[in-house]
Structure formats: C-alpha cells, structure tokens
C-alpha cells in the first residue's frame, strides 16, 4: 500500500440510540476505538452491527447520543474526518468501468491528481488489466476489490468494513485478509463487522459483541477474544 497521508484517528460513540419506527436498533452504545485499533464487531443478524457502522460513516443519524472523531465532533460539517466505507453491497456502478467508477468518486472527493491515484489503486487491488471492463461483468471478488479501492481513494484514516467477505470464495477471502492486514499495519483505525471467526477476524486487535443493540462483550485479550467472536456465531 502507498505511504499513509493521514494522522491516526480515534472514534468515540457516546450513549448512542437508534430507533427505526418502533424498533430500537441500538441502545445506549458507548465505546471508544483508539487510533490504529482494528475492532471487530460480532453479533447475530439484527444485533445492530451495520447500524453502528453506518452511524460511524455518517450515513445514519443517531436518534440520541453523539459520535466524535478524535477531537472533532461528527456534527461539525467542517470536520476533516471522512471514513472509508466498504459494505456487502459494492457501492459502485455496474454500468461503468472500474476506472470510470474510481475516477467518478475521486473527482467527487476532490482527490488531487485523480487519474494518478486511480491508476495506483487499480494496481494495488490487481485490476489494472481490467480497468476498461464494466464492473457488471466482474466476479463478486473483483467487485469487492473495486469497492475497497473506492473506499481508499481519499486515503481515509478510518476504515469501516461491513461484512466485507460476504459472498467471497476462499481465494477472495484470502486476498481481502491480506489487504486488511496491510491497511491495519499502515496505522488506520479499522472497524469491521463479521459473522463469526475467520481468517479476517484474526486480524482484529479488539472484539466487541453486540446483542439486541447493546454491547455485551468487549475484549482485547486472546482467549476471550475468540469466545466473543464464536459465541456470536452460535
């Protein structure tokens, strides 16, 4: 990966509630993720993992509570922190080529010298030779590579990965694990949601289990780390 052009950033969720109509998706979630930490969120479907990550991405407004990045509040429109977000939906256009997709988002994010940045990222995710192919013709693994490249366009200090391995075959998961390892080692703060233990979850430095919208376990130590992830999968 290219040398980082960011300062490490911490995230603080304070007493976050999120209500969708009558459903309380998150209940009083409070936690701080330290700069450079790789936090893995585990939990059953509907436990609130995706909602929490979408709040961190500022795609969803919390019903109560606040989110802040290091010393800047997320409510501050001038906040320089703009997380990179990868979800199980690829968030790229099937009707555009890999290069067109990345150039589009690079220009929207006012990335300097977008053509160069896109070229470098296509090289990094191993899609240089398919740059002119429509994303709609790609396999799931290739689409996910484009999605990761899109999330990295602006060199984010914080990376949010919402079940990034969904639908990937074993070589795809291995590639993703290696990519996340390099991103973690570059000093980025990473929050990712996963289903159970995997090659990717082993990259985490912290495991947090959510159940019915609340944090029910939070550990950094080896033995309990594994149980937090596996219990969630039970």
């Amino acid at each position: 990966m290219t040398p980082p052009a960011f300062s490490p950033v911490a995230l603080r969720f304070e007493n976050i509630d999120k209500r969708y109509g009558g459903l309380l998706a998150l209940r009083g979630v409070s936690l701080t993720v330290a700069p450079g930490e790789c936090a893995v969120f585990a939990g059953r479907n509907g436990s609130g993992k995706t909602t929490l990550l979408r709040i961190a991405a500022r795609l969803v407004r919390p019903s109560r509570g606040s989110l802040s990045f290091s010393n800047s509040s997320c409510d501050d429109e001038k906040s320089p922190v703009r997380p990179g977000f990868v979800a199980h939906a690829t968030m790229v256009y099937d009707e555009l080529t890999a290069e067109e997709n990345l150039l589009l988002f690079a220009r929207l994010q006012t990335v300097s010298r977008p053509e160069r940045r896109v070229e470098a990222l296509l090289e990094e995710v191993g899609l240089s030779d398919r740059r002119a192919s429509l994303v709609g013709t790609f396999s799931r693994g290739m689409r996910q590579r484009v999605a990761i490249a899109r999330a990295l366009l602006h060199e984010p200090a914080v990376l949010l990965l919402d079940e990034p391995a969904t639908g990937l075959d074993p070589p795809g998961v291995a590639w993703l694990a290696e990519a996340i390892r390099r991103l973690r080692d570059s000093g980025r703060t990473i929050l990712m949601s996963l289903h159970g233990e995997s090659e990717i979850s082993s990259l985490g430095t912290r495991a947090i289990r959510l159940d019915a919208g609340s944090v029910v376990a939070d550990t950094r130590t080896g033995a309990t780390f594994r149980s937090v992830l596996t219990f969630a999968d039970a």
């Binding site: 979408r54 969803v60 939906a89 690829t90 790229v92 256009y93 589009l104 929207l108």
Partner: protein
C-alpha cells in the same frame, strides 16, 4: 464551494450511463408515441380540434412519460447502494439532487424535442413560427415536472409501494403545471399565436419556489 463541480461530475455520470444503455429514453419515447397514436386514432381530430385538445394531450403524455422516467431516477442508486457512496463522497448532498434534476430535465426535453415534429405532423398543427416560445414553455414546464418528480422519486424509492407511490404523489402536485403549460401551449398553437405571459410567469415562479424548497430540504430526502 464544491456544489457545482460535484453536480457537473454527477451529471456527466448520469448522461454516460443513460446514453450507454439508452433504456430510459427509448422506453419513454416509445411510450409517448403509443399514447399520441392511440389518441389520434380514437378521436381523429380535425386541425381546429387538434389546436384545442392537442396541447392537453401533449402535456398529459409528457407527464406520464416523466413519471415513467423518474421511477428509475433513485431506484438505480439502490441497486448497489451507490446512493450511500455518493453521500459519503459529496460535501453538499444537494449536488446529488441537482445532478439528477438536470439529467431528468434534459432527458425530458430531448424526448419533447423528438416528439414535437411527430405531433405536429400527426395532428396537423403548425409549430414552426412559434418554436422558440414553445421551447421556453417546454423548458419551464419540464423543469417544474423534474423538480417535483426528482424530490418525490427520492422519497418513493425508499417506500414499499414505490411504483405506485410516485405517480400518486406526483400527478396531483403537478396539476398546476399541467393546466398552465397546456394553456400556454394552446395559445401558441392558435391560428393567430400569442404568448400568455401570465402563464410563463407562473411556471417560472413555480420552478423557483420548488427549487428553493428542494435546496432547503433536499438533504433530508436522501437520509436513511
């Protein structure tokens, strides 16, 4: 101020994806042709009757075509959750709405441009002398349809009965545009054509008011 540069980049994307597939424009043009042909063979109007009922028919066809076209406006963004990617990328969410609005207006105008000569031939109405005034009326009317339609498309895309919801919400709200655009066009189709400035003024005010409302509240339309 990255609003306009962002909107331009997004407009480029809208045009590129549409002209690559041509799905929307082709479907809309075919739909309006069928409607105009069916009206023509059902009523078989004389030239005078065409001047009377033609403008209403034309604007009704445009309105139906717009509701067909606008269905896809935000549904396309839901397929791969690209709307989230756009929201994460732009500093002002109004850029997304502005680009959609510009693209919808442009597509609607292109459809109208294609269909006007066919209408004139089919209904035996002369439009050559007033084509510039027609262009103004079509622009203002289409802009109004697109402003309201784009906002409602953003709302309905997140709803369950989205295919039904858009026309149900859109058609009543656009009734003033339909009535006034029809009156303005009828005056231009007259044997002694004239410009209804009151109607043109109404269309311009309608566009400004709804565009301002979209600018003020548009951000909330895109939220989850």
């Amino acid at each position: 101020m990255s609003l306009f540069p962002n909107a331009l980049v997004l407009l480029g994307k809208e045009l590129r994806t549409e002209f690559r597939s041509r799905e929307l424009l082709t479907t809309t043009v075919v739909f309006i042709l069928i409607v105009m042909f069916m009206f023509s063979i059902t009523f078989q109007p004389t030239s005078d009757e065409s001047r009377q009922i033609g403008p209403g028919l034309l604007w009704l066809a445009f309105l139906f075509a717009a509701s067909l076209m606008l269905q896809h406006c935000f549904l396309r963004e839901q397929h791969n959750d690209t709307l989230s990617a756009l929201r994460l990328s732009v500093s002002d969410p109004f850029a997304i709405l502005l680009a959609k609005l510009a693209a919808n207006t442009l597509f609607l105008l292109l459809t109208e441009l294609f269909l006007l000569p066919i209408f004139a031939l089919m209904y035996n109405v002369s439009v050559v002398r007033v084509v510039h005034w027609l262009a103004l009326a079509f622009f203002l009317g289409s802009l109004g349809i697109s402003i309201v339609g784009t906002a409602l498309s953003a709302i309905s895309a997140q709803a369950r009965m989205r295919e039904l919801l858009l026309p149900v919400l859109m058609l009543p709200l656009l009734t003033p545009i339909l009535i006034v655009s029809t009156e303005v066009t009828k005056a231009l189709f007259d044997r002694a054509p004239y410009v209804r400035w009151q109607g043109i003024g109404f269309l311009a005010v309608f566009d400004v008011v709804f565009l301002t409302a979209l600018w003020l509240f548009g951000e909330y339309l895109l939220e989850e």
